[in-house]
């Protein structure tokens, strides 16, 4: 049993603390100037009518009230974003895990396949958008050219209200290289002894995968789910480049709407309120996932 003895604060410890603070002061200054101040400023601006070019006008909670009671587009934006998160994150996760499992098997040219699956992560978003624009193009796209040659109606991937979001999710599934690497590391950490024990107990391959491999990988799954969820709530680049929020606001996501308010309408106060709402939503989802993790995440170090 450890006993805790309070150490007396003396001049030496003060000096030590000051030295420590002096050494990390560049970081502290940077953190205060570029993180703390913007956070505090955006909290204040969210309570104002502010267009950057004129002085902010304090309006209390009016921005928030308007967002929740009057702004119809906000509801559309919220529903589009939740759709993307609820379907996109699990879809990306499943694809990444399955691909990582495949890449974890002994096979020829394994490093080559691993590189190929990671490549989409390295492709700049603008280049990705152009490639996918061509893939999805209804007139000369690689898929629809075939469809047309068979005498069938083309598939309006990103120009249909129903298909636009799933088509963007498909692109998201293509860019799972980072998650694949994380899962691959987790899969390589699965103890062989556990698999062997399960085999001795008569478990088939699927049962071993379900009851041994996946539980051991749940910490990695939790991490990928959390980071994927946060990234998906902030989804912007491909949506902006490929659909600009259309057709008919089918892909108007949270970050797009925030950007539009800030830089097209010069409504920085309203955009700040949107940013804080997004923060709270992400926080709630994160807490929910964390709380649920006690039921499904297995940490080998815990008894």
């Amino acid at each position: 049993m450890y006993t805790f003895t309070a150490q007396r604060w003396n001049r030496s410890r003060t000096r030590s603390l000051l030295k420590g603070l002096a050494f990390i002061s560049p970081w502290l200054v940077g953190f205060a100037a570029f993180v703390l101040y913007p956070i505090a400023a955006s909290a204040y601006y969210s309570l104002t009518r502010y267009d950057v070019l004129r002085a902010p006008r304090f309006i209390g909670l009016e921005n928030y009230i308007e967002l929740f009671t009057k702004d119809e587009i906000f509801r559309t934006v919220l529903s589009n974003t939740v759709y993307l998160v609820v379907l996109g994150v699990p879809a990306g996760l499943v694809v990444a895990f399955l691909l990582a499992s495949l890449l974890n098997r002994k096979m020829k040219a394994r490093p080559l396949f691993r590189t190929i699956f990671f490549l989409p992560v390295l492709v700049p978003a603008v280049a990705s958008a152009e490639v996918w624009r061509w893939v999805y193009n209804t007139n000369y796209g690689v898929i629809n050219a075939m469809v047309k040659s068979w005498g069938l109606p083309v598939i309006p991937f990103i120009s249909s209200m129903q298909l636009a979001k799933p088509s963007l999710i498909l692109i998201h599934m293509w860019t799972q290289g980072t998650a694949i690497i994380i899962f691959l590391a987790a899969l390589q950490d699965v103890p062989r002894s556990l698999k062997d024990a399960a085999r001795v107990d008569g478990a088939n391959a699927l049962q071993r995968f379900w009851h041994v491999t996946i539980p051991i990988c749940t910490p990695a799954i939790l991490f990928v789910t959390l980071t994927g969820m946060i990234g998906m709530f902030q989804y912007f680049t491909l949506g902006w480049l490929l659909t600009q929020g259309g057709p008919n606001e089918a892909t108007e996501f949270f970050s797009l709407y925030l950007y539009r308010n800030a830089f097209q309408y010069f409504k920085m106060g309203y955009a700040s309120a949107l940013a804080w709402i997004l923060f709270v939503i992400i926080l709630i989802f994160t807490l929910l996932i964390f709380r649920s993790s006690a039921r499904w995440v297995y940490y080998a170090g815990e008894s």
Partner: protein, 472 residues
């Protein structure tokens, strides 16, 4: 450390504590010195003779890029710098300029001169750019009345002028058509449609589908090019004007979107879309993109027969579709206005943000850009005009270079109506609402009456929030 006898002493008595103290003193002193320092002056010895005239360097931001646009910008900067003036310009291509300019102005580091593609009216109305009337009054090169009617007015807010037309300004509306497609459809190009009823008949004749029902050629896309744009200080809102409606009342700072004519315009817009099918039209638009600059756009690539567009299209088409022939005539109007011919001259202003120090130098560059030397560089590379009345002579030899350009130039004088572009202080919001309203109607989410009413309410409410003082 070197001792008096010249030997190197490798020991030191500097403790960590002392080191930190001296470091703190040194950093504090440096910071103090930096804070008190005057702006860096040109390094020159006192003995050296001062130059006859100090060279001032100004920063110029432009959003236009692309092959032709960039060539024009580079050419203008080089032409200016080659003049041997005491002002030199440093050019910077700034895509997505709206965001960056806003941040630069707010941060106190704006460029000396800007041109293109920001929410101009929003900058004017919020005092973010400088009034230029005093400079224009003093100028021997630029005069208020030197520009085409209505153009300088589109760069004014509450009586002050915030921009000067320089790089791109001109007539915004002409109905261009693909001669081969019109001929194939058996239509008479000498009798172009003058009303939307007649236009719809052409649209039906020209639109073609394949056996699977996929659209192959669209007669007319009512949301392409200038037909689908505005309202902004450089392009009005076409669908309102064609019905004879000015959507913005500058006297009262109010909107007229709930007017019957706007509802009729929305109904017509939907009718054209419905003939193709909203899904087909949307796919077509996303496949080919629009306007005339790119060879892969629908009109240059020959899969769209008619287009409402501006004077720059002949020049752009000569590059993007050199193998095709195009004609041009008046844009159609509502049945009730049959016989009316309308035009609007809009343009991108050159402006000087507030907070700029080299204002005279910045204005000197603006003056240069409005004149022949710069204008010729711009025209040669892009086919763009600058808005001066004196260059609107359709018979000038250089204008014969692009087929149809002379029609646009003549149209300014021939039109029965010449509309000015509206200066709406919440331009970005209204523009997005326009796009939203069109989509809500063509996708069938709202009836035109409801959509018009909603747009009127949304824009009025936004105006009340952002400029309550203007609504009385």
């Amino acid at each position: 450390m070197k001792t008096m006898d010249g030997n190197v002493n490798t020991t030191t008595n500097l403790s960590r504590r002392r080191f930190l103290q001296w470091s703190a003193v040194g950093m504090g002193g440096a910071a103090l010195a930096a804070a008190c320092a005057t702006p860096a002056a040109p390094a020159a010895s006192e003995d050296a003779a001062a130059p006859a005239e100090e060279t001032v360097e100004i920063a110029w931001w432009h959003a236009w890029g692309g092959t032709t646009g960039m060539a024009a910008m580079v050419g203008v900067a080089e032409a200016f710098n080659a003049e041997g003036r005491s002002v030199q310009v440093e050019r910077l291509h700034v895509p997505e300029m709206n965001d960056k300019l806003l941040a630069a102005i707010a941060g106190g580091t704006p460029p000396d001169v800007g041109v293109c593609c920001v929410q101009y009216a929003q900058l004017y109305s919020r005092g973010a750019v400088m009034p230029l009337d005093d400079f224009i009054d003093r100028s021997e090169i630029i005069q208020h009345d030197a520009f085409v009617d209505g153009l300088i007015e589109s760069m004014q807010w509450q009586g002050s002028t915030y921009g000067v037309p320089g790089f791109e300004a001109g007539p915004r509306y002409g109905l261009m058509y693909n001669k081969a497609l019109v001929e194939e459809a058996g239509l008479d190009a000498s009798q172009l449609p003058r009303t939307w009823e007649e236009m719809f008949e052409w649209h039906v004749e020209l639109t073609r589908f394949d056996d699977a029902g996929n659209v192959e050629v669209v007669g007319f896309d009512p949301r392409d090019a200038t037909a689908g744009n505005g309202p902004a200080t450089n392009i009005p809102q076409f669908w309102a004007l064609t019905y004879g409606l000015d959507i913005w009342d500058a006297e009262t700072n109010t909107f007229n979107y709930d007017d019957e004519r706007f509802i009729s315009a929305l109904t017509t817009l939907k009718r054209f879309t419905d003939h193709v099918g909203v899904q087909q039209m949307e796919s077509f638009r996303s496949s080919f993109s629009g306007w005339t600059q790119s060879p892969s756009s629908s009109f240059p690539s020959g899969v769209q027969a008619m287009l409402v567009t501006g004077y720059y299209a002949p020049g752009e088409l000569s590059h993007s579709a050199p193998d095709k022939e195009f004609g041009v005539g008046w844009a159609p109007v509502a049945e009730a206005r049959k016989g009316a011919t309308f035009q609007s001259v809009g343009g991108h202003p050159m402006y000087i943000p507030n907070g700029v120090e080299n204002v005279d130098a910045a204005f000197e560059f603006i003056e240069f850009c409005t004149q022949d030397k710069a204008q010729n560089v711009i025209f040669e590379n892009t086919g763009w005009l600058g808005g001066l009345k004196e260059i609107y002579d359709p018979d000038l030899p250089k204008y014969q270079k692009y087929s149809g350009l002379d029609w646009f130039l003549r149209s300014v004088n021939d039109a029965t109506e010449l509309w000015a572009c509206p200066v709406i202080p919440i331009q970005g919001f209204v523009n997005q609402e326009r796009s939203r309203t069109y989509e809500a109607v063509i996708f069938g989410d709202k009836e035109p009456e409801q959509a018009a009413q909603d747009m009127q309410e949304a824009c009025t409410e936004e105006m009340r929030k952002q400029f309550p003082e203007l609504l009385g």
